[in-house]
Structure formats: C-alpha cells, structure tokens
Amino acid sequence: MDLCATTSQTVGPFFKIGLLWLSRNKLAEEGAAGERVTVRGRVIDGDGIPVPDAILEVWQANSHGKYAHMEDSQDKPLDNDLWGYGRIFVNAEGAFCFSTIKPGSVPGPDDKEQAPHLAITLFMRGLLRHLWTRMYFPNDSRNLADPILSLVPADRRSTLVATDSPNEPGALEWNIILQGKHETVFFELGS
C-alpha cells in the first residue's frame, strides 16, 4: 500500500528547546584528516534584517570523498574523526559559525565528479518547509565542471560559493540571503 508523506510544518520560534541538545558547531574531531576551515556567515531576510531564529544543518563527506553511511559503497576509507553532521544555531544577530574540514569530491550523475561541497538544510520561524542549499569552496577549479552548479543559472552560482575572509586566514564567509537580488539559490530535490 502506498502512503503519503506527512506534511511539513514550521519549527516555529522556540525550537531551541527541542534541538539544542544536539548542537554541533565543530564537525571534525582533532584527528580528522583534511584541510581545516571555519565558516562564518549570516542569515538575512527580505528586509535585509538578520534572522535571529534560524538553524542550519550540515552534511558532508570526509576528506577522501566518502560519506559515513551504509549507502556509500565507494572503495574509500572512512574517517572515525568525522561523522559529517553539524547542527548550527544562529545567534541574536543572525550570525553563524562552524568549523570542519574541506570534504573530498564525491561522484554525481553519470559518475561525473562533484566539486567539494557541504549539503545545507535551513529551518526557521516562517519557513513551512525547510530549505535545501549547498556551500562550495572558493578557488577550486572543480566548481567549473560541477554537475549540480551547472544546473544553476550562471548569474546566481556565486551565491553557493563561499569567499575567503579578508581578515581571518583559513576562514570562509558565506551568507544566506532569503530574498532579493542576491537571493541564495535553494533546491528542490528530484530533477
């Protein structure tokens, strides 16, 4: 028998009560292999006002491009110091910060290589369904051939690519803009 998926509802403003226990701003343990990065950004609404009640979740591969999940059958090593999951709460100024390692590339459609990326889900008061997006890494030539980025209109791709922080070596900046001219690209899964 076929069932119908349960309808989504907003997290509302008070989700911290239920979700804070699994807060994870540090995705990589000390022993994790790979290039360390800190990501800083803000979530901004349609009035240009920072959103103080949002939460991001991150899912990523390890530095070898392997996901810690039974459906990843690639012959690549797991890294016991990288689960790959992060849950990040924005602060009262709408700002978020997390640290991790840059993932390796993973296969995409037709076995085309995907550029290193983080899968991001975004939840907040006002969002009846969570949003899907990705963060890519700056100065990586693999971005040019990435099969997912290439589905995005060329003039909007930059919204998915972090930039080097001008004043903090090793840190990246990536803002999530909910509306307007520089609106971040959000995805619908399934082509």
């Binding site: 076929d2 509802q9 239920g18 349609g46 039974m70 899968a119 509306q179 690209v185 899964l189 082509s191």
Partner: protein, 234 residues
Amino acid sequence: MKPVAGYRPHDPGTQPNHLHPAYASSIKRAPTQPLVHIPYTLTEITGPSFGPQLVSMAACDLTRQHKGEPLGERIVVSGRVLDENSRPVPNSLVEIWQANAAGRYCHEWDQHDAPLDPNFTGSGQAVTDSEGRYRFVTIRPGEYPWGNHYNAWRPAHIHFSLFGPSFATRLVTQMFFPGDPLLPYDPIFNCTADEKARNRLISVFDWQTTLPMNALGYKFDIILRGRDATPMEQ
C-alpha cells in the same frame, strides 16, 4: 558507482508552499526565486545515522526530567515512522518540543503571560525501534495566543523533528489533537492545500495505549518520503 535511487516526488498539494501570506512570518523569509531542481546524488541519499545509544531511556519521558511532577494532563504519544512504501523506518531520531500545560514554552523569548512549570522543560528524544515505533510520555500542551493577527491562538500542538535514513528524508512537522476548536483558524495548520494531508497531522485518541488510572493515549504515525522503485538512469 551504480546510479542512485532517488525519492518519490511529493503528491501535489500535500506539502505547504514556502510563501503562505496568512502566516505573516513567511512573507519576508520565503524564497522569491524559483527553486532549482537537482537530481539525487550520493550527497542527498546519505545522511547522519543514529543508534539507540544516542538518547537515554529517560529522554522519552518528559514528566520525569525534574524533581517533581509537571502540572497538567499526562498523555502517552506513540506511533510508527513508516515510509511511503509502508516500510517501517528503524533507527530514526525523533525529537519533540512543546509548551507546558498552561501554553508557555520554557524559552526566554516566550513572553506569554502564563506560568512556567519548574517541573517541565518540554523537550524529548527517542530513536525508533526495528519496527519504526516510538513512544513519549508527556503533558498535554496548552493552547496559546500569538501575534500573527488580531486574537490569534495556536491550537495545542507538539513539534516533531525526524531524520529517517537520509538527508533527503528530513522532516519537521507538528502534531495536533482531535477536536481542537482552534484548528480551522490556525494559518500554520491550514498552510497545506490538501485537506486529507492536513488532517493527518491530527493525532488519534487510542484506547490501546491509554494507561488505566494514569494517562490518555494518542497515536501519531509519521510517513517519510519513500524511494523511487527504480534507480534513475540519469
């Protein structure tokens, strides 16, 4: 790598649009550009795995997290997590949060003039068993006013967050109670066009899980997206 099997698209009208003007907070936060459709890749069909060891047994009884008993009507909320192909979803993390019996959240931003309960936080976690089952003991949450429009009141509800087997099956929803007179007036409950889909958010009173002399039982099954029957060729 073999082509990955994606998930079934949602039935039309069974999920809310991002913009739902009756819910005022959506107006400045819903995307205005069309969503970009992307195929399922290894990134989306994998996700964090949770074992039963992640949460303590005590985390599913919200009435025993403090020294004393919380005020209000004790209830048992239980059900199964299944996918659209009717298969149980084991090892799914289920997180809940809710207001206390007076309709007040244990959160610094909740300014509703109703008392906090020192014996109730309103936060619980469980991991589904091999048959996809979960069970919480809690207090029936109170209704409460909010600022969406003049004389706006939220019906009694419990927030649910679930993961399922992959990042693609992530779901956050709300469970409501049968017979709540506020349901027809709630813009959040009514954001979904399909009436049947909407009504499936209402739990069902259940004698089987009602504990004699102790707590009423409410059943709430949750359906996560199911896999496409065949792997995509593209």
